[in-house]
Amino acid sequence: MRDESLELRFQRRDAVAYDAAYRAFAPRMNAAALRLLRDPEAADECVHEVFLELWRRRTAYVCERGSLEAFLVACVRNRALMRLRDGKRRSAIEQRLHVVEKYEMQTDPIERARIAQALERLTDVQGDVVVRAYFRGMTLSEVAGELGVPIGTVKGRLAAALATLRRSLIAETNDGI
């Protein structure tokens, strides 16, 4: 459930609201970054950097945009994706391969099953695009290159997938309240 009071105070850059938002949303932000980076320390850093950057930017979040939690998760994903797309960082991550392998052995089977379940309402091509663009952090042009289709097609599939997910996942959430 959204806390519109918190969102308004966060928009006004109230330090207490930042602390509350950190306590409420940092675990999920960390999970989202960790899923992309597979590096707990790097995921932590991304969360910290997002809060620090938002503190500095005066117009970063406005309530009209929507849920603060959704905004923060999107921010930390972007931060993590920037790292992933940084060649130097990619190299450093590869050097920690043993850590990555250990983490994937612990988590991937569960996550894969959950992802498959969440995406079961999508068509195969939609699910494929979501996995590549959202869970693997690929850009539309990278997905288009791998699939051999135009970027516009990938973008359309992703938008259609999101519309389906919105109907199913948001409806489930509302039904559960």
């Binding site: 932590d44 950097e49 945009r65 998760v73 999107a74 959950r114 992703l158 996942l169």
Partner: protein, 195 residues
Amino acid sequence: MESEPHIGDSAAAYAAGALDENERAAVAAHAQTCAACLRAIGQAEETWLALERAVEPNASYVNARRRLPFERRGIAGWWLPAIAAAAFVAGLFFAHRAPESPATLAMIQSHFSHAQFDGTPPAKVIYARDRSWYYVLVRGGGRYDVYGLRGTASRALGTTQPRGATSELFAPVHEPFDVLQLREGIRIVETARIR
């Protein structure tokens, strides 16, 4: 007046972080002046969040493996406003030296580190990785003299000043210290090693 077309299908990709840099910047710029597209992005972010929730294995897994990062490092959440304030103060300091320099601001945002002092009260130092400034925060209202040490040389940096829940000192000294000490008179209260 809207000079650009609405973002349409790009909202989903934007919220997923899947746009290339140029298109991402164009969408962000349009959303700043178009409430409908800003809302479309917000809705897309909410749907991706719902997907995040759906793929989390379970609550205990999240709690066990993904504790608050500051807590995992032994740093309680009360530091966050202070750290944010430190970044802000550092920003003012650097902004004075290089006004409106995006590169400088980017450096401030990402190029600092922190170290904890080894005793009580809980205390830490946030510092620029180029050692151009140090920001000492001590929990509680005590006043402590801060010294920087490098080899056998030491330098007094100043005294922490109470400010809310913490006592703080910002020292823009441009010296590569190995160790920082908090002292009361000649007594060394606690030490932090700068890595």
